[in-house]
Symmetry: C2
Subunit: 436 residues, 2 copies
C-alpha cells in the first residue's frame, strides 16, 4: 500500500476504545478508499491489571506509547482529570495531536490545553466530547460559521433522557427508571455526574463557548438535575401538553449570555419532545439559518467511536489542524463569557403547590404572585381526593427568575402550603416551528 500510514496510540480501551478499534479494523478499506489514509493502531494502553475490551495487543506504559516516534496521534479515552491531563500534555509537547472525548477535562482545562497545543503546532479534536456521534462541534466550527448564534437548546445527556422517557412513557418512578438505565448500561453505578446535570453542564460549557465565542466557566452555569423530579409533575405536564426534558440552554442577550441546565417543560409539538431514550438532540438558532436541529445517539460505544474516528481522519487529512490554527473560536482565544445572572433571566414557569384543601388558599397564592408582577397563564386543580393537601398547578406568563424565587419563598411560608413548592421552567415552542 502506498497510503501514508498514520500511527495511533489509544490511551484507554474500554467501551468506546473497543469501538474505535473495531471501526479502524473493520472499515480500514472504506477509510482508505475515502481518504487514501492507513490509520494504524501502534499502541493500546490500559491501566495496570486491566485488559482492553477487545482482543488487541496492549500494554500499560502510556509514556512509552506517547513517546514512540511511530505514534502520530494520541487518542485519550481514559476520562477524568488525571492522569488524562498529564498524558495529553505530554503528547502535545511532542507536537502530537490529540483526540479526546473527555468533557470534564475540556470544561476544566480546555483553554490551557488548547494553548499548549498551539504552542507546539499540534491540535486537539473533541467531537466525541459532546453529544456522541452527532457532528455538532464540526457544525458550529464550519457549517454554521456565518451565523451569529442566538440560542442553543439541547438534550445532551442520554442517561437523563432515557430515565425521563421511561418515566413519561411508561409511568415509572425515578428510582425504577434509574435502575433500568443502569441495567441497560446507560447509567453508571454512581450516576451523580449524569442525573445532577453536571455532565450536561460540562457539555454546555464546550458548546456554548463555540457558539458564542467566549470561554465559559462551568461554575457559571445554573445547574439543576433530575434527581428530585416526581412522576406527578411529569403527568401534570403531559396534561398541559408538555413533556419534561433535561435541557442545556444557552442564550444570547445582547453582549451577555445566559447558561442553564434544568428539567424543562417542552411543548409536545417541539421536535425536542420527540427525542426519546438515550438519543440526544441540539437545536441551534442562527441569525441567518434560523432553526436547525441535530439529532442522534449521544452516547454508547459505536456512536462515540464514530466521532473519535472522524476526528482521527480529519486530523490525518490535515483539515482539523488547519481549522485549529486558522479559526479563533476556541477557549484559549476568546474572552471570558459575560454571564447574565440567573436571577435576571425570564421564562415561563410551572409551579406545583401542595395546598391545604380549604377556602382562601388560592387567593393568598395569587396575591403573592400578583404582587411580584407574575401573571398566570393556567391553573389546574383536580377534585380533591381524601388527602389533606391537594396539588395545584399554576403556569405563568414570562416572569423574572428572581421574582419567582422570591414569590416561592413567600408561598412556602404560608401555613396552608406544604413546602417545597415545585418550580420548573417552561420553554415555549419557538416561532420557527410554525408551518411556514
Amino acid at each position: 500500500m502506498s497510503e501514508p500510514s498514520i500511527g495511533i496510540c489509544l490511551l484507554g480501551c474500554g467501551v468506546v476504545g473497543s469501538g474505535v478499534v473495531r471501526i479502524l479494523q473493520q472499515q480500514a478499506d472504506l477509510i482508505r478508499r475515502r481518504t487514501a489514509l492507513d490509520l494504524k493502531i501502534q499502541h493500546v494502553v490500559v491501566r495496570q491489571n486491566d485488559r482492553p475490551g477487545i482482543d488487541v495487543p496492549y500494554h500499560h506504559d502510556a509514556e512509552r506509547a506517547i513517546d514512540d516516534p511511530h505514534t502520530q496521534i494520541v487518542v485519550e479515552l481514559i476520562g477524568g482529570l488525571e492522569p488524562a491531563g498529564t498524558f495529553i500534555q505530554r503528547a502535545l509537547k511532542l507536537g502530537k495531536s490529540v483526540v479526546t472525548a473527555n468533557k470534564s477535562l475540556l470544561a476544566a482545562r480546555g483553554a490551557e490545553l488548547f494553548s499548549l497545543a498551539r504552542k507546539h503546532n499540534a491540535c486537539i479534536a473533541f467531537e466525541a466530547s459532546c453529544a456522541g456521534g452527532i457532528p455538532i462541534i464540526n457544525a458550529l466550527l464550519h457549517g454554521l460559521v456565518a451565523n451569529r448564534i442566538d440560542a442553543l437548546v439541547g438534550i445532551v445527556n442520554g442517561t437523563c433522557n432515557f430515565i425521563l422517557t421511561r418515566m413519561t412513557r411508561n409511568g415509572w418512578s425515578y428510582t425504577n427508571a434509574l435502575a433500568e438505565a443502569q441495567k441497560a448500561g446507560f447509567a453508571e453505578a454512581n450516576p451523580t455526574m449524569d442525573v445532577s446535570g453536571r455532565d450536561a453542564a460540562q457539555k454546555l460549557s464546550i458548546l456554548a463557548g463555540l457558539a458564542f465565542n467566549v470561554a465559559v466557566n462551568e461554575a457559571d452555569i445554573h445547574t439543576e438535575g433530575i434527581e428530585n423530579l416526581q412522576e406527578t409533575d411529569i403527568q401534570f405536564a403531559r396534561e398541559l401538553g408538555y413533556v419534561i426534558k433535561l435541557l442545556a440552554i444557552a442564550r444570547r442577550h445582547g453582549e451577555k449570555i445566559s447558561l442553564c441546565v434544568h428539567p424543562t417543560l417542552v411543548h409536545e409539538d417541539d421536535l425536542l419532545a420527540d427525542v426519546s431514550g438515550s438519543f440526544n438532540a441540539i437545536s441551534v438558532y442562527g441569525h441567518a439559518l434560523g432553526h436547525a436541529l441535530f439529532y442522534g445517539r449521544g452516547a454508547g460505544q459505536m456512536p462515540t467511536a464514530s466521532a473519535v474516528v472522524a476526528d482521527l481522519i480529519n486530523i490525518a487529512l490535515g483539515t482539523t489542524p488547519l481549522a485549529f490554527k486558522q479559526l479563533h473560536m476556541l477557549a484559549d482565544q476568546v474572552p471570558p463569557a459575560s454571564v447574565l445572572p440567573h436571577q435576571e433571566l425570564t421564562s415561563r414557569y410551572y409551579l406545583r403547590l401542595m395546598a391545604r384543601d380549604e377556602p382562601g388558599v388560592l387567593a393568598q397564592v395569587t396575591k403573592i404572585l400578583g404582587d411580584k408582577r407574575i401573571s398566570l397563564s393556567a391553573i389546574l386543580q383536580h377534585e380533591a381526593n381524601d388527602g389533606q393537601h391537594v396539588p395545584v398547578v399554576i403556569t405563568t406568563h414570562q416572569a423574572r427568575e428572581g421574582s419567582v424565587q422570591a414569590a416561592l419563598k413567600d408561598i412556602d411560608a404560608l401555613s396552608s402550603i406544604q413546602p417545597p413548592t415545585v418550580c420548573l421552567r417552561i420553554i415555549d415552542q419557538p416561532k420557527e416551528f410554525s408551518t411556514q
Copy 2:
C-alpha cells in the same frame, strides 16, 4: 486591518445573492473575529437589464469580474446549466475556487467540473446545493466519514413539504396548497422542477453520491412527484397513523444501491413526520453512528446564504480546498453507482382501489395479490355512501415492486375496479426510533 482580504465575485444577486451580501456586510466583524478573514465583495454581476436585489455596486460583465486578479473566489448563484457552467469553468481554469448552490449543474456535470477544479488546483464548494442551510454536505464529508452509510432518507424539497403540510394539516387541495406556496414565495410560477420530484432527485444524486461514494446519474433515480396526490389519500394515511411526505431515499443493498424519490407514507412517530412547512430534514443511518437526523430550513434567502458564506469562509480558511484535495469522495473520483433496478426493490405498500359496491370484488382483488405473493397488512373500507365506486384501502407487508406493479395491472383490468388504483409506498418506522 491586518487581516488578509479575500476578494469575492458574486455572479447573480437575486434572493440568495442579496442574502450573501447582507451577511458579508452585517456580520463582517463576527467573521473577522472568528476567522481573522476579511471577505471583500469585489464584484456583483447581474444580467443585462437586471439589478441586484440589494443596494450594492454592480455591473454586467461576468468575464471581467472573474478574470480580475482581485477576485479570489467566485460565487455562482445564477442557477441552470448555462451560462453558469461556462463561468464556473472560466474561474476554475484561472485556479479560482467556486461556491455554488446549483444542484442542476452539479447533478448534470459535477464530475467534469470537480475534475477541472482539481486540474487547476482550485476547489468547488456546494453546501447550499442541498437542503439549504443544513450542513449536510460537511457532515457527510467530515463528521460521518468513519461510517459505512446504510441509508439516507430525506425531505429535501421545501416547496413540496409546504404543500403537503397544508394538505395534511389544513385539509387543502393540492391546487390550493400550491397557489398558497406560490403566494408565500415557496414555489416558482412554474413549479414543475419542485412538484415533479426532479429537484429532490438532483439533490439525492449529490447526497447519495457522497454517502455511498459513487457517481449517481440522475436518470437512475426512480422519481415520482406530488402533482397527482389526492386529499383522500392523505386522509386515509392519517387514519392509518401515517403522514405523506415526498421522500428522497437512497439505500445500500450489498454492493448495489437503490435510489428513489416519491410521496411516501411515514409513520406519525417518525421524526420526519414532524418536519413541517418549508423545513427540510435528512435522516442518515450509519453503521457506527446509527440513526442521525439533520433538520433545518432547506431553502429561502438567509438559510441558503448561511451555507454560501460558510463555504466562502471554509475556502478562505483553506480547510475546504484541503479536504477537496485529500478526500476521494467526489463524483470525479468514484465509480459509477451500481443501481438496483426499481422493480427489485421491496417496500410496504398503500393501495387505494375504487371498487364497485358489489359482492365479490374484494375476493377478486385479494386473489390477484395472493397469486403474486403479496400479503395484506390492513384493509380499510368505510360504509359506502351513494357513489357507484367506493374507496378500499389496502396496506401490504413487504413486497417486491415488480410484483406490486404486475398486480396493479391485473387489478385495474377488473371490470369492478375504476382505474387507476393509487399506489404509494410506506416507510416503516426504523428500529432506531425505539426508546432505547
